[in-house]
């Protein structure tokens, strides 16, 4: 999903319109996405929650960074299921 096909034109980030370095996101939102996936294991251990519940929790948390919130909302809206197997 996150690998650009060879020969295809460069695409813009789905969230901010910056040039996407890899796949759907620009470097800044990609970093936010990586943090979201990395932190899931801590939340799962602490609260025994699913990936979907996790996304909803961080989306409404006031301490969550703005880029993380943007990526989270995008993932929720697009029914992101990549990490479902982890839950």
């Amino acid at each position: 999903m996150f690998v650009e096909n060879e020969g295809e034109e460069a695409v813009n980030c789905k969230i901010c319109d910056r040039k996407a370095d890899e796949g759907e996101f620009c470097a800044l939102h990609l970093k936010a996405y990586e943090n979201i996936t990395n932190r899931y294991s801590v939340w799962r251990k602490a609260l025994k929650i699913s990936w979907k519940e996790y996304l909803n929790q961080i989306a409404k948390n006031s301490l969550t960074g703005t880029w993380v919130k943007e990526v989270t909302n995008y993932l929720i809206e697009n029914g992101e299921t990549r990490n479902v197997r982890q839950s």
């Binding site: 800044l28 932190r39 602490a46 301490l63 969550t64 960074g65 703005t66 880029w67």
Partner: protein, 692 residues
């Protein structure tokens, strides 16, 4: 024609003070020549004191060409040739030149630091017919009469040319970096979008912005994680205290809940009481950075504001020269005399008296040294006129800090009491001052208030009122504020004590950062990204630090200004080539950020109708009248508009209406108080007004 001695000072206030101090009768005569003031003082000889207005000369490129880069050759010219709005400097320089013609001795009495030395040097060289080599130098730390007279009677035979060379090198190198990099960014954005926007960066600005961008990135990419804390409210005597569970952090809710269940309905017993005494040494004397930090902490003054207040106090002879990085107070400043004078002030009389009663006055000192000036200290002179609140605050802070450094160490005690509740350990913390020492002199500016615990014994039974579980989340790293950024710049050796506060202001002016709790804007991110991608060395702290070290080598005479300049040109040749080669990509990236930043300036708030659009201030093509409209209008999905007042200046508040949560604007009309306008025509605040 009677010959005289001409003294050149940095600012008009300093000229007036010096003239008064040197005049035998203490009454120098002020003369205005085409609006330029100068002073006549009579001693054994006639003295004329003429001020500058800070820098009267500046660096420009040798060849003219607006926006052209690279530029590698520089020269010094009068400021009026290079800057708009500096026209009165022409008359100022003409006056100085005229006064220098009949002077047999020239004295540079500008502030004794790099900037002051350059100001004096340029005037003596360019406006006084190249007499910089035969001029003498006045060196003083305060503008008190005694010190100025002493300084005049023991003039330094020459200007400090090593310091001047380092200063000239710094100005020229900074100008080369600033002009070439800024022009590269500005021209790339302009060529891409066809619109002009000033984009600047520089040798110090780049790395500083990078610090901020790195922190901002961590904040924006932050994912909080949950954890739990447990505390117990315990009753000792008639008071209730809060004790923390010995395990500070519970990573799972299950584990935390198990502890709560275990402690429910149980009382406790004191397991151990561990009192520990420690000494708190007096603070170090103020250098400018420390003063700026303390003033931000207590009064919320920005470093720039503190710097300008301190400068006013210095010109009023109330404190010593503030732009110093020294943390030492040499005995020559006369501790006793200062304290004796401070004792004449009712507020400080008792404290100063206590210090004067000591057998020896020895200040606590730090490691940092500055050959030009000692740490900041009060001169002992009391204000002749009422000080404004901000001046009084800073003066009070400087006086109390000065007294505190002569105080004894404070003795404080920390008590840690462990309470056992059904096998779970809770810890109660207390803090108490046993001997006040220097804290007595530094009130009310001391940190860490006392929290005294009642006496406790091992085995003592404790009533537990409640055991609570607190839901917590990890927090993102804190944003920099002006004070913490200043500290960070100091640690990284970025800029000088004199330039840091101004540089921070430039970042705000360029809209790279905003707010007191500093937030980097999208434009700030893009500029950092461009520099990081195409010229990483320019934003590297190591690179700037190395240059600072080289400047110090110039002061020591181990390196020359020419060597530093030639190194800078070599680096800039590579950097500007890379920027030129990638101009299209850079321009595209920057112009998008500039447009976004311009758009943000027009955003009033979120559209209350469609929720995902933004309301902008727009102008009708037909009537030229302004109104608020939704950005989704252009996509054809929202046609929301609101009328706006046609007269007055509209200022964005980025705050929602307290009553209805709709976007608001501030309206400024000439001669009227600004008023807040809520866009909601049905807002309850408006309808309430109508009913009345």
């Amino acid at each position: 024609m009677v010959k005289y001695t001409l003294i050149v000072t940095e600012k008009p206030d300093a000229a007036s003070r010096i003239a008064e101090a040197l005049d035998t009768a203490g009454k120098a005569k002020k003369i205005l020549h085409k609006g330029v003031p100068y002073y006549l003082a009579q001693r054994e000889e006639k003295i004329v004191v003429v001020p500058a207005l800070g820098h009267l000369y500046t660096v420009v490129g040798e060849t003219k060409g607006q926006g052209q880069y690279p530029v590698f050759k520089v020269k010094w010219v009068p400021k009026y040739e290079a800057e708009r709005g500096a026209a009165r400097i022409r008359v100022w320089l003409q006056t100085i030149t005229k006064l220098a013609e009949d002077a047999d001795t020239l004295i540079d009495a500008c502030d004794y630091d790099i900037e002051g030395s350059i100001i004096g040097y340029c005037i003596l060289k360019y406006a006084c017919g190249g007499r910089e080599k035969t001029s003498k130098r006045m060196k003083y730390f305060t503008l008190t009469k005694e010190e100025l007279q002493k300084s005049y009677s023991s003039l330094l035979p020459n200007l400090d040319f090593a310091l001047i060379e380092a200063g000239l090198a710094r100005h020229e190198v900074d100008w080369l970096y600033g002009i070439n990099l800024s022009r590269a960014l500005t021209s790339a954005a302009k060529n891409s979008s066809g619109q002009y926007a000033t984009l600047s960066t520089g040798r110090v600005q780049g790395p500083t912005l990078k610090f901020l961008a790195t922190r901002e990135r961590s904040i924006r990419c932050f994912v909080p994680t949950p954890y739990w804390k447990i505390n117990a409210k315990v009753e000792i005597g008639n008071a209730v205290f809060e004790a923390d569970h010995e395990k500070k952090v519970f990573e799972t809710k299950g584990e935390a809940k198990a502890v709560i269940t275990k402690c429910k309905g149980k009382n406790g017993e004191v397991k151990a009481v561990d009192p520990r005494k420690f000494m708190q040494t007096p603070p170090l004397p103020f250098d400018l950075g420390a003063l700026q930090n303390e003033a931000y902490r207590f009064f919320g003054y920005t470093p720039m504001r503190t710097s300008s207040i301190a400068q006013r106090l210095y010109l009023g002879a109330l404190i010593s020269y503030p732009r110093t990085s020294n943390q030492k107070l040499p005995p020559e400043i006369g501790y006793e005399a200062i304290l004796r004078n401070l004792a004449k002030n009712r507020e400080f009389a008792k404290l100063a008296g206590e210090l004067l009663a000591k057998s020896e006055l020895k200040p606590t000192e730090g490691k940092k040294d500055d050959l030009a000036h000692p740490a900041i200290y009060p001169t002992g002179k009391l204000p002749e006129k009422m000080l404004v609140v901000s001046e009084k605050n800073i003066w009070n802070l400087v006086v109390r800090r000065f007294m505190a450094v002569f105080g004894e160490p404070a003795v404080r005690q920390i008590v840690e009491a462990t309470i056992n509740v059904n096998g779970e350990k809770f810890v109660l913390y207390g803090k108490q001052t046993m001997e006040e020492g220097w804290l007595h002199f530094y009130q009310p500016f001391m940190r860490g208030k006392d929290a005294v615990l009642p006496p406790m014994k091992e085995g003592q039974k404790i009533t537990v009122k409640q055991v609570t579980l607190e839901d917590k989340f990890t927090k993102p790293p804190p944003r920099y504020n002006p004070s913490s950024l200043l500290k960070k710049m100091e640690e990284a050796d970025l800029g000088t004590k004199a330039t840091r506060a101004g540089l921070m202001q430039t970042l705000y002016d360029r809209k790279y950062i905003r707010d007191d709790r500093i937030e980097v804007t999208d434009l700030g991110f893009e500029v950092t990204d461009v520099l990081r991608k195409y010229c990483p060395s320019v934003v590297s702290v190591e690179f700037t630090r190395k240059l600072e070290e080289e400047m110090n080598e110039v002061i020591k005479g181990k390196l020359t200004r020419e060597q530093i300049l030639s190194d800078a040109v070599e680096i800039l040749t590579t950097v500007t080539t890379s920027l030129k080669e990638n101009e299209i990509a850079i321009g595209d990236q920057l112009s998008r950020a500039v447009n976004k930043s311009k758009l943000e300036e027009k955003v009033i708030g979120a559209c209350p109708t469609c929720k995902n659009g933004k309301l902008l201030i727009l102008y009708s093509k037909k009537t030229r009248k302004r109104f608020a409209g939704c950005t989704n209008y252009f996509k054809g999905t929202c046609r929301t508009t609101f009328p706006l007042p046609q007269k007055g200046f509209l200022k964005l508040t980025s705050k929602a209406c307290k009553a209805c949560n709709w976007p608001t604007l501030l309206v400024w009309l000439k001669g009227r108080q600004p008023w807040k306008l809520c866009l909601n025509t049905e807002c309850s605040l408006k309808t309430r007004g109508k009913k009345r």
